[in-house]
Each structure stands twice: as structure tokens, then as C-alpha cells.
Symmetry: C2
Subunit: 466 residues, 2 copies
């Protein structure tokens, strides 16, 4: 090779200014070629400069057969961090493919929180296999973490904590750190604890470093300090990190004793996942949906939502069926009715998306919910009036019936007002009932706008035209 | 008062385990009562324990009149960080309300990246007013940052960097930090630079602290090290932080000289905003949409998307109008046709949401796009076949026409296949054309599924029934 691969990537990076991404289709092609030609040396050379997160992405992008061959060829170079970065759906398959010795080696390199994350989604036999290869102390720690509820602070935290008694000074802390062999890979604060091991404050390493040896740690405590109980849901933890710009935060057990620490990179990953789930739920796609899923998995995830949609569509059809008489006489009604329903559906989706987001970010609360309901209703009314005017005129130009123009205009105003109100009130009510509004709001809102849209338009038409 | 407010919040926190949030409707009520009764002392006592981010949230939740009165009453206690945390839409209003002296004091407390963030969205007169109150050195720094493109790494970074020459050892670094007065509030790495001020590596403070004074900094460099040019879009920066678990990363100018540093909390905020924008765009809501917007602002944001939707709905109506003859003879067609369109629209939305997300997270690339297109087509076909069967049978039970049952079944298969393919291919093509797929895909896809759905169903019906 004439050029270090890392350097090549850096250079491309500099040229290709709008893309900071180190894994490119061309790299993937080269990697697959190495696999095809059984060229282990070349494969290792290509993968070596890549970050484990990029290798994991690459494994997700290629198909299952190539993945298996690649892992067998890559052999003992396989890094534990790649496992941590893999999507759950593929992780299980990869763990089954890995040689037990390679797996053992890979897992032993990981921090406790990553091992816990790895184990969570495996079946019991695979869990046992991994627990067995851990050192005793690590195994106990991991098993302890697994006793905490899924998606809790206890699962998210790492158990490796750097702590100091509250009476220490800077010099004592530095000497302690210098003499400790097994410090965590990354840490940003020293947690001060009282004699009962309860955390009383964080000292940032920056302030620690900038202070003279005789300064008391207690005097360097950060202003912002959040402590999470082990049972706190990880979504709440991520929210607090984002809201209060936390970098790391201690986790305590039911006796308020320090048992671990959560760092911002883990919180960021949770925030990212929660967003992903919200978007997928809003679209009626199973939140576990992954690009690497098979046809069968994808079909199974999407089918239930389509079934719900079929039921609501049939409900709308039943409404239409009540007006077969008037449609038979004025076929223009059949032509125009989807417009009323569609505009309502769209306005409702706008309103509900804003509401679902605001609930997720805790911006929509008891303090402002009535004001926002009023606003959404008014916006629906104003937009409804605007499009009623447009649509009334268009109808007249198209079908030449002033009466039908007024009917569609009136139906439009009614449906868009209802859409605005339903779009905000349905998510709020679902949230109060502790049902995830992202999951269910869409179906309810479009059902309402379909039913109201068809009923208002066809009902008014019957009254006026027959 | 019998209890420190901070302590009260902590206790509530411990009780109310599923909510880490410190600002509750009941606090807001108490705050508004203090404003109503002009009780400055009480207001300060209530706001003092709150984090600036929570005060900003509270200001966003109350109405404009209460906001004005609160700010006037709160007076000089108003903290610069509250301004940073406020939504842009309200920030301008608050800056106008603040007494110039209070504003000057508030702004002087901020770090340079926060001042830049503050200035970006203000009109020129307000920008001037704020720049004037800054110290000379700060003003020059801020003005320099404003020369970088909006949403770039240059705007996001803070200019306060802790750096060290590459030949220093741990002792020299510690002595330097102890003797420097004006260190940044938070920092996690020391950036090593060569004589031309080009960054060559990061030394984490944890490793620094754990090492003896004579150890060379060069030997402590972190494995993961990313350098961003000032022009790199902030979305790419946030992606890299999340992908590579970065904590802080240096920013360089066109000569590769170190000019600033980006920390993970800023990257996390960008990631959060980008997600928010994606969700709002997918729903056809202006991405600038905020809960605190007025009726007029909201109406104006949503109107364009509704107008686009109206056009696509009319397009679908034009398709229907081509089949007035057959609808007039078989009114059941008008009853059933929305079902075909609705199922296609839903399947298309599922498919496109997965595609838009995968494009945003760079999981959908040239390496796997054909496989995913095949998958989405197959899933559409399978789900289409399943619902065709269900709907065919339901039609027969409802209207008793076997022929019409076969028509709706065939139309369903066609439309759901097209929906699956359009749902993946439209976002991919838009992405290649450098058009944000989140923004435009939804409209295109539902237009396709409406047109194809109505055309397939009514067209087949005409062939078979007339």
C-alpha cells in the first residue's frame, strides 16, 4: 500500500466537507472484496483504521451471509466494542457466529455497563455463556445490575466510580488517582461521598487540576449536581442530562448509597433512541424496527398498524355508506369528498405532532394546555376558513354549483376546526391515561377527521341538495 | 419558610420517582401568584432554586403579558444563562423587555459560544446593543465567530480552549493550569498543539491526573481524536459526537490552526434540535414551530403545507372524476375507494419514515439500498396480499359482489406494492438530489398512493363491471 488508510480517510474528509463520516460505500466494497478473496491480511488492514461504531454500521449494512463470512475471517481481531455498537437485532446473530474464545476475549475488554447492555437482549443460554467468561468480580457486578428494571438508571450506569471522602483535599485526591491501577477509561468528575457512601457533590477534573494541593475538595463542588436513584427510567435520566447540561451524575440505591455513575455519552445514546422510537411510533412502525430486519420481521412489525388502519378506514366507509342515496344523485360528491377528509387529516397530523413532541419535551403542561388548545382551535378555524374559500371557488369553477361550493366550504371549516382540537386533545388525554401519545394518537386523530369530514360534507349535501 | 425550596424539590424528586423534572405546574402557579401580587421577594425565592433551563421553560409556558410583568419584577436577578436556554421565538421579546443594564450584565456572564448563539437570531439593532456591552476582547471573538456560516462548527464552538505544547509533561501542564486565572467553566481535555498551533491530540483530564508529573503528555493521548474544520455543518458534528462517543473535539481554521473546541453538551443540543426538526418536517409543520408561537405565526407556518396537500388532494379528485360514469352506476365504489387509498397511504408512510430515518443516521447507503428496496417491495406485496384477502372477503359479506371483491383485492395489492416502493425510493432520490427527504417525501408518497389507489380500483372496476 502506498498510503496509510487512516490518512486516506482524513484527506477525503478534508475534501468532502459536508460529510464527516469515515465509512463510505467504496470502503464497504473493498471490505467485501477482501472477504470474497479470503484475504485476511487485507481485511484486517481495512478494518483496523475504522472506529468500532463504523465497523458495526458496516456489519449492519451487508447481508447475513457476508456478515458470517467476514466475522469468521476476521477471527480474533474482533473487538468487544463492535458488539456494543451493534443493533440488537444483529447482535444475537453475531454472538452465535463468533468463536467462543473470541467472544470471551471480546467481552472481557468491556466496561460493566456495556456488558449489561449486551446481555439484556440475549436469551438465557447466551447470557450464561457470556457470564461464565467474566472474572468473578465483574460477573457479580453485572448480575447485580441485571436485577434493576430494564431501561432504568441502574442498567445504564457503569459501576466503576471514582469517589473521594468529603474531607479530602486536592493533593490527597491526586495521590489517590496516581496510585490507583484500575481507573475507568473515561471519567470527568470525582464524586464526594459522606461516611455512609452517600454522594454529596461532584468535583470537575478541570477545577481540581487548576487548584493547589491544599485546597479542600468540598470547596470545588460543581453548582449543578443531580443524583439518580437506580430505578429512575433512562428516558428521564437522558432528559435531565440534556436539560441541565450534565456531564456525569452519580446513581444511588434505595439507601442513597453511591452504586454507579452515568456519563453523558450514554445519556446521549438514550436520547437518540427515544427520538428514533418516537418517530417510528408516530408513523405506525414498530419501534424495534431496524434496517437490517428481514422481510418476515418487517411484515410482522407493520401488519398490526395496518390492521388498525383498515378498521378505521372501514369505519369511514360505513359513514359514506349512509349517504349512498345522495352520492348516486350527485356523483361530484364522490369526487370531492376525499379532499375534505384529506385536509382534515393533514391539519390534525400537524397539530398532533406538535402536541406529541411538546409532551415528550415536557413543554406542554397543566400551565399552558388550555392556551394551546385555544390556539390550535383558532388556527384550525383560520386555516379552515382560508381553504374553505379556495375550495368553494374551485368547486364552482369545476362543477358550477354554488350550493355545492358552500357545502364543501362549510364542511372544510368544520373538519379543520375539529382536526385542530382533536390533534391537541387526543395526545393530552392519552398522556394523562399513561398511554404513549406517539403510539396511538395518529390513528385516533385521522379516524376523527375522516369520520367528521365525510359526515359533515355528505350530511350537509343531503340536507341542501335533496 | 420552614423548608429550603431546593430541599423540597429534592424530596419531591425522591417521592415522584417517574419524573426527574423540577418545574411543576404547581410551582408555575406559585410564581404567577407572586407576579400578580407584585411580591418580588417571593418571586426571587421561588426562582432561585430553579436551574436557568427550567426558568426558561417556565417563561415559555406562561403568556406574553405575564412574561413581561415577571421579567420587570425579577429585575437585575435575571441571569444570562436563562437567555441562552430560551427558545429563539421568545428570546427576542425577552431581550426587548429587559432593562439595558440588566441585559448588559446578563450577557457579560456568558461564554463566547453562548453569546454567538444569542446574537444569531437577533436583528441588527439588537445585535449592536449587545456587542457594545461586551469587553473588547470578547467582542472581537464574537464578531469573528459570526463570520463563520450559520449552523457551522465555527458557530457552535467555544473559543476558550485549554491547550499545551506537545513536548510538555504532566507537571508542566498542572502548573500551567494552577497559574491560569481565566480557565473555561468546563473542560475535559487538554489539546496538544504543534508549534504552528495545529492540534495533534487530546489528553483526557482523568489520565492526566492519574499520571506522575514527569510523564510526557504525548504518551497520554486519547485513542479517539476528531478535528472539525470551522465550516463543518453542526449536524455532522453532532453525528460524529454520537457515533464516536466524543466528549470534546478541537475546531481548526482553514490553516488547520486550533481556534476553538466543541463539547458534547452542545453537540447533544444540536442532535436534539435536528431530531425535533425531522419530526416536525415529516408532519408538514414548519421546523421553526414552537409551542409559544402565536396563532398568527402558527397559521402562517402550517398554511403552505396544507396548500401543497390541497393540490395533491385535488389531483386525486381529478383521477376520481375520470370514473364518474362507473361510480354513478355502482355507488359501492365511492364507499370502498377511500379504503384502498388509505391503506396505501399508511403503508407508504411506514416505509418512508424508516427510509428517512435511515438516511439521517447514515444507515441507508449505496451498499444496501437495493437490498432495502427489494425488502420494502416484498413487504408491500405480502401485506398487500394479506389485506387484499381480508378486504375481498369483507366486501363480499358487505355488498355481496364477488367481482367487486376481486377488484378491491387486486387494487389493494397493487397500491401497497407501489406504496412500499415509493416509500423507499422517493426519499432516496430526494436525498441524492440534495433535497431534505424529511421535508418533501410525505407529500410525494401520499400523492402516489392516492392516485395509484383510486386509479387502480376505479379503473379495474370499469373494465370488469361495465
Amino acid at each position: 500500500m502506498t498510503q496509510e488508510p487512516e490518512q486516506a480517510v482524513e484527506e477525503q474528509d478534508a475534501r468532502d466537507d459536508d460529510d464527516a463520516y469515515a465509512l463510505r460505500p467504496k470502503n464497504v466494497t473493498a471490505i467485501l472484496y477482501a472477504v470474497d478473496t479470503d484475504d485476511r491480511e487485507q481485511l484486517v488492514a481495512l478494518l483496523e483504521p475504522l472506529h468500532p461504531a463504523d465497523i458495526a454500521d458496516m456489519l449492519e449494512q451487508i447481508n447475513a451471509f457476508d456478515r458470517m463470512r467476514l466475522i469468521k475471517l476476521y477471527g480474533k481481531e474482533f473487538d468487544g466494542d463492535i458488539l456494543s455498537e451493534l443493533d440488537e437485532s444483529i447482535r444475537e446473530e453475531v454472538i452465535r457466529t463468533l468463536h467462543p474464545e473470541v467472544l470471551a476475549e471480546a467481552v472481557r475488554e468491556l466496561e460493566s455497563d456495556d456488558v449489561v447492555d449486551l446481555l439484556e437482549d440475549l436469551d438465557e443460554a447466551q447470557q450464561e455463556a457470556i457470564l461464565e467468561v467474566l472474572e468473578d468480580s465483574d460477573r457479580v457486578a453485572v448480575e447485580q445490575s441485571l436485577t434493576y428494571p430494564e431501561y432504568s438508571a441502574g442498567r445504564l450506569m457503569q459501576r466503576e466510580v471514582v469517589m473521594a471522602p468529603e474531607h479530602w483535599n486536592v493533593g490527597e485526591a491526586i495521590d489517590y488517582l496516581r496510585s490507583t491501577e484500575d481507573l475507568p477509561e473515561q471519567f470527568y468528575h470525582i464524586v464526594l461521598v459522606d461516611p455512609k457512601l452517600r454522594p454529596i457533590g461532584n468535583v470537575g477534573l478541570g477545577r481540581l487540576m487548576a487548584s493547589r494541593r491544599e485546597v479542600l475538595l468540598r470547596s470545588l463542588i460543581s453548582e449543578t449536581f443531580h443524583v439518580f436513584p437506580v430505578t429512575r427510567p433512562e428516558g428521564e435520566v437522558a432528559y435531565a442530562f440534556n436539560q441541565y447540561h450534565l456531564i456525569s451524575a452519580p446513581v444511588v440505591d434505595e439507601n442513597e448509597r453511591l452504586v454507579g455513575v452515568i456519563t453523558i455519552d450514554d445519556a446521549m445514546a438514550v436520547l437518540d433512541e427515544e427520538h428514533e422510537e418516537d418517530i417510528l411510533r408516530l408513523a405506525g412502525v414498530g419501534e424495534e424496527s431496524r434496517l437490517s430486519d428481514t422481510v418476515l420481521e418487517t411484515t410482522k412489525q407493520r401488519l398490526p398498524w395496518l390492521a388498525v388502519n383498515l378498521m378505521t378506514a372501514i369505519l369511514a366507509s360505513i359513514v359514506i355508506a349512509q349517504f349512498e342515496d345522495v352520492i348516486a344523485q350527485v356523483v361530484a360528491l364522490a369526487v370531492l369528498m376525499p379532499i375534505v377528509a384529506s385536509m382534515g387529516g393533514n391539519a390534525g397530523t400537524q397539530s398532533l405532532t406538535v402536541a406529541v413532541r411538546a409532551l415528550a419535551t415536557k413543554d406542554l403542561t397543566g400551565s399552558n394546555v388550555w392556551r394551546i388548545i385555544r390556539r390550535e382551535g383558532t388556527v384550525g378555524l383560520v386555516n379552515g376558513a382560508a381553504f374553505a374559500l379556495v375550495m368553494g371557488v374551485l368547486e364552482y369553477l369545476w362543477f358550477g354549483s354554488a350550493v355545492l361550493g358552500m357545502v364543501i366550504a362549510a364542511a372544510m371549516v368544520i373538519n379543520m376546526l375539529v382536526a385542530g382540537l382533536a390533534g391537541i386533545m387526543i395526545p393530552v388525554v392519552l398522556d394523562r391515561l399513561k398511554i404513549d401519545p406517539a403510539l396511538a394518537s395518529g390513528t385516533f386523530v385521522t379516524t376523527v377527521t375522516d369520520v367528521v369530514g365525510f359526515f359533515a360534507f355528505l350530511g350537509l349535501a343531503r340536507v341542501v341538495l335533496l
